[in-house]
C-alpha cells in the first residue's frame, strides 16, 4: 500500500512540480507571484482541447501549439499589463494577475461553462501489475513526461549560455543590465516560460481530471505549498517540495483521514512558514530591525 500511494503521489506531485516551477520562474526574475496562475494552467488545457477535439489535431502537435500559444499569452501579459503598472504598489501586481485569471476563466465559462468536457486519454496503456502494485498508464505518462521536461529545463539552465544569463539576472538585475542584458525583455520571457510550463501541467492533467473552467483553482494553492515547502524562489526546491506534497497528500488521505487530502497543502504552508520560513532549500533572508 505504501508503495502504491507513493507512486500515485509522485504522479500528482509531478503536475504540482510543473506548476510550482513555473510560478518560481516568474517569481525569481520579477519578484511577482502570479496569483492567477491556476487559470493559466486551465487555459493551456483548454487550448489543447480545442485543438485536439474540435479541430482534430493529433495530441503531440496540439500540445506543442498550446504551449506556444500560452508562451505568447504570458509574453503579452507581461508587456501589456505588468510593465505599465510598474512602480505602483506591489500588491497591484497580485490583483492584476488575479484579474487576468478571472478574464481567462470568464472566457472559458462563457464558451464551456455548463459542460464538463472529457479529454481523450493520450496513451491508453494497460496498467502494469507488479505483485499487488498497480502502475497505471496515466501515472507512467505523467511521471515520464515531467521527468523529461524537467531534465531539459535544468540542463538548459546549467549548461547553456541562456542558463548563464538567467543566473546573472537572478544574482542581480542591475548587474545584469550593466553587462548588457535587456532585463525587461528577459522578464517578458520569464512570464512566457512560466505560462508555457503551467500550460504543460494543465495539458498533462486534463486527460486524467476532465476539463472545467475551475480546473486551475486548486493547482495554484498546491503550487504555493510546494514553493513554500521547497523554499520560496528555489527552482529545485519547488520540484522537490511538489513531489513531497503529492506524496504526503496520499499518505494523509490513506493513513489518517481522506478528508485531509484537501487541506494537506494548507497545513504544510502554515507549518513550514511558522517553523522554517525559508523552507527546505531557500536562502534565509534576514531583515534586521
Amino acid at each position: 500500500m505504501l508503495l502504491q500511494l507513493t507512486i500515485s503521489g509522485l504522479s500528482q506531485g509531478a503536475i504540482y512540480a510543473l506548476v510550482a516551477l513555473s510560478l518560481t520562474v516568474v517569481y525569481r526574475s520579477t519578484t511577482i507571484v502570479n496569483f492567477g496562475h491556476g487559470d493559466f494552467v486551465m487555459a493551456g488545457a483548454f487550448v489543447s482541447y480545442v485543438l485536439t477535439v474540435m479541430l482534430g489535431v493529433a495530441f503531440l502537435p496540439a500540445a506543442v501549439l498550446a504551449v506556444i500559444a500560452m508562451f505568447l499569452l504570458g509574453l503579452c501579459f507581461s508587456r501589456g499589463l505588468i510593465r505599465p503598472i510598474r512602480g505602483g504598489p506591489h500588491i497591484g501586481y497580485a490583483l492584476m494577475c488575479i484579474a487576468v485569471g478571472y478574464v481567462l476563466r470568464g472566457i472559458a465559462r462563457i464558451v464551456w461553462g455548463r459542460e464538463v468536457l472529457p479529454m481523450p486519454s493520450v496513451f491508453d496503456m494497460p496498467p502494469v501489475f507488479i505483485g499487488n502494485l498497480v502502475i497505471t498508464g496515466d501515472a507512467m505518462f505523467i511521471i515520464g513526461t515531467t521527468t523529461v521536461l524537467l531534465a531539459i529545463f535544468f540542463a538548459i539552465l546549467a549548461l547553456t549560455d541562456i542558463g548563464k544569463m538567467v543566473q546573472a539576472v537572478y544574482q542581480s538585475q542591475r548587474g545584469a543590465q550593466l553587462i548588457g542584458i535587456n532585463v525587461d525583455r528577459f522578464n517578458d520571457m520569464a512570464w512566457g516560460v512560466g505560462a508555457a510550463m503551467g500550460a504543460m501541467g494543465g495539458i498533462l492533467i486534463a486527460p486524467v481530471s476532465l476539463l472545467h473552467p475551475d480546473l486551475g483553482a486548486s493547482f495554484l494553492i498546491k503550487g504555493f505549498a510546494a514553493m513554500t515547502l521547497g523554499g520560496f524562489g528555489s527552482l529545485h526546491g519547488a520540484v522537490i517540495g511538489a513531489l513531497l506534497l503529492g506524496v504526503s497528500e496520499q499518505y494523509a488521505g490513506a493513513y489518517i483521514n481522506s478528508a485531509l487530502i484537501d487541506i494537506t497543502a494548507y497545513l504544510i504552508i502554515v507549518f513550514v512558514l511558522l517553523v522554517r520560513p525559508h523552507g527546505l532549500f531557500g536562502h534565509k533572508t534576514v531583515v534586521k530591525v
Binding site: I98, F224, I269, V270, V289
Partner: protein, 322 residues
C-alpha cells in the same frame, strides 16, 4: 494642495450629511434594492478593515475572509447555541475577529512578510473554512446555521428596513472610529511602519505593538461585518467565506484606492452595485469583473478616490500616500 479650514468644515458637514440623507432610503426604495444597499454597507466594513492592513499598514495579509467568517460564525453560534440576542453578538463577533487579527499579526511578527504573509493568511482562511465544514456539531457543517427570527425593541430583525438602520449606524461609527484611529498617534505610527519599519523602530516606536494593533483593529471591523452578514442573509454557510469573497474584497480595496477610507467606501459601492446591475448578463460576471479591475489598474492606479481628490481638495486624506 491641502484643504482650507472652511473646506475642512464643509468636509465635516458632508461626512454627517450623507448618512443623514441616507436615513430616508428605506422609504424610497423597494425591498430588493434595500437588500443590495445593506450588502453594500457590509462590504464597506469589510473593505475598510482589509484596507487598514494592506493599505495603511502595508502588509500583504489576506486573512480578511477568515475574520469575516469568524465574525459571522461567532454571531450565528452565539445566537443559536447560547441563545444570545443577535445585537449582543456584534461585539462578540468583533472580538473574535480581533483575535483572528492577533493570530495573523503573530505570523507577521515572526518575520513572515510579503508573499509569505499573503500565502499563510490565505491558508489560514481556507483552514477556517475546513473547520466550518467539519466541526459539524457547532457550525452545522455543510448545512450551515440558520439564524433564529428575532425582534429588537419591538422591531422585527427580519425586516430589511430595520437591518438597514442598524447597519448604517454601525458603519458610520466604525468609519468614524477608523478615521480617528488613523489621525491619532497610533495611526501615524502605523503609516510610519509602512514607509520604513526600521526607521520607525529607531525612533523608539514599538513597531511590533503597532502591527498587532493594526491587525486587531482590522479583524475587529471585519468581524463586526461578519456579524451583520449573519443577520443579512439569516443563514451562515461555509461556501460564503471562500476565495471568491477574498478576491472581491481585494478588488474593492484596489479599485477604491489603497490606504484611503473614502476609497474603501467607493470600492465597496461600485463593485457591489455594478455586478448587481449586470445581473441580466449571467455568466459574464467573471469577465466583466476581471476587465473592470484591469482597466482601473491601468488607468486609475490610485483608485477611484483619486478621481475625487482631483475634483476637490476636501477629499484629500492626509494619511494617504500619493
Amino acid at each position: 494642495m491641502m484643504p482650507t479650514s472652511a473646506q475642512l468644515r464643509f468636509r465635516t458637514i458632508l461626512f454627517w450629511l450623507v448618512p443623514a440623507l441616507m436615513l430616508a432610503v428605506p422609504m424610497v426604495v423597494n425591498p430588493y434594492v434595500l437588500f443590495i444597499i445593506n450588502g453594500i454597507l457590509i462590504f464597506v466594513l469589510i473593505t475598510l478593515g482589509f484596507n487598514f492592513v494592506i493599505g495603511n499598514l502595508g502588509q500583504l495579509a489576506f486573512a480578511n475572509t477568515a475574520f469575516f467568517g469568524i465574525g459571522a460564525y461567532s454571531s450565528a453560534i452565539a445566537t443559536t447555541s447560547l441563545g444570545l440576542p443577535w445585537i449582543a453578538t456584534i461585539p462578540l463577533a468583533g472580538l473574535a475577529g480581533a483575535l483572528g487579527g492577533f493570530l495573523a499579526s503573530a505570523a507577521a511578527l515572526r518575520g513572515i512578510r510579503l508573499y509569505y504573509l499573503a500565502i499563510i493568511t490565505l491558508a489560514f482562511g481556507e483552514l477556517m473554512r475546513w473547520i466550518y465544514v467539519h466541526a459539524k456539531s457547532i457550525t452545522g457543517g455543510t448545512d450551515g446555521l440558520s439564524m433564529p427570527r428575532e425582534t429588537l425593541l419591538g422591531f422585527s430583525l427580519t425586516d430589511d428596513r430595520v437591518k438597514f438602520y442598524i447597519f448604517l449606524v454601525l458603519t458610520v461609527v466604525l468609519v468614524k472610529a477608523t478615521l480617528n484611529l488613523l489621525r491619532s498617534h497610533i495611526g501615524r505610527s502605523i503609516m510610519a511602519v509602512r514607509e520604513n519599519e526600521v526607521a520607525t523602530a529607531s525612533l523608539g516606536i514599538p513597531t511590533s505593538r503597532i502591527i498587532v494593533i493594526a491587525f486587531m483593529w482590522s479583524g475587529f471591523v471585519v468581524g463586526c461585518a461578519g456579524s451583520l452578514f449573519a443577520l443579512h442573509t439569516a443563514y451562515v454557510f461555509p461556501e460564503s467565506f471562500g476565495m471568491l469573497q477574498l478576491i472581491v474584497s481585494f478588488a474593492m480595496v484596489i479599485v477604491g484606492g489603497l490606504g484611503s477610507v473614502l476609497g474603501s467606501i467607493l470600492g465597496a459601492v461600485v463593485l457591489t452595485a455594478l455586478p448587481e446591475y449586470l445581473r441580466s448578463f449571467p455568466g459574464m460576471e467573471e469577465l466583466f469583473f476581471g476587465l473592470i479591475v484591469i482597466a482601473v489598474l491601468l488607468l486609475l492606479p490610485q483608485g477611484l478616490a483619486s478621481l475625487l481628490r482631483r475634483l476637490s481638495p476636501i477629499f484629500i486624506e492626509r494619511y494617504y500616500r500619493e
